[in-house]
Symmetry: C2
Subunit: 182 residues, 2 copies
């Protein structure tokens, strides 16, 4: 059963990497050119909006981070009947990094959603015009990208729950932060 | 030591509630009136930006949720030497709700930060004007509010880590998802 969880985690991480890369590509390769007045044309790219730029960087970084986590050699908590102290430090570090990664990805994605919502609705109070009525295809692709981003965030949240499970099950159910004697 | 963790959790939840209420109040009671041309004056409130409205609702809801969690009677996993099955269901539900709360608060806060960044910098590509050079005090107060929002998110993340610890330490370190025999 130990092996079962380890392979499950590998599958989850591989899916997370694929969805993260898909998100980054959808945003980064999204362009649309529109003729505004006669010969003046305008090209929309992700570089026009800071939130989208940040989303590309962060999803790429998160994909790389998950790739590194995959390379980590899977170690067992016990070797020859003895508990290994190094296991728990590794598990804590892994849990901490996984949590950081999921929160940062989630935040970047939510920021991109907010910027997109402003582009769709505009803001009368702030006198900001709608942009998506002109660049419709561009906006639909960004919409797909943020949905992928949320899927990736959910996958990473599950992965970090597994990381937490790996750490916390080593502790005693009766005593606070005391390692259990198997 | 069991009592130690329980009181720790109570303190954390009370601080989270206070910071969440502070965030909601800072945003909700933030107004600034500016004379634009002679007799025409404009009033900036949080209702001008959807992200800020959502932030007020969500931080209030999160404060209420933590209040409810405080009312929950603290139960022990064992009564009279026997493991209580109802404990683990409660702990799983509590973990799930805590996780939801922290992610939603964090997302709402990040969306508000993105909207604020756009208000500070404007966007040349989208022809959106800066707003914060006119409503400076208003923007500073929103800045303080989102910092409070992040503090609240961090507190809630720690609370949900404690929830996870409470659930996962009941499981065996050697067998997958099998409850341990103390």
């Amino acid at each position: 059963m130990k092996l079962g969880m380890a392979t499950g985690e590998v599958y989850l991480r591989v899916s997370a990497i694929l969805v993260l890369v898909l998100t980054a590509c959808l945003v980064a390769f999204d362009t649309q050119t529109k003729v505004i007045v006669l010969t003046y044309e305008k090209k929309a790219t992700y570089k026009d909006v800071n939130a989208l730029k940040i989303l590309v960087y962060i999803t790429s970084a998160a994909a790389g981070f998950n790739m590194l986590q995959l390379c980590k050699h899977p170690v067992s908590a016990y070797s020859g009947g003895k508990f290994k102290g190094s296991y728990i430090y590794m598990a804590w570090i892994s849990l901490f990094l996984d949590q950081m990664a999921v929160y940062i990805t989630f935040a970047a994605n939510s920021a991109a959603v907010e910027a997109s919502m402003l582009a769709i609705t505009g803001s009368e109070a702030l006198q900001w015009l709608k942009v998506c009525n002109r660049f419709t295809r561009f906006c639909f692709q960004i919409g797909g990208a943020v949905i992928c981003g949320y899927v990736a965030s959910i996958l990473m949240a599950v992965i970090s729950a597994i990381s937490a499970y790996k750490v916390f099950r080593l502790y005693s159910p009766k005593w606070f932060l005391r390692l259990k004697s198997r």
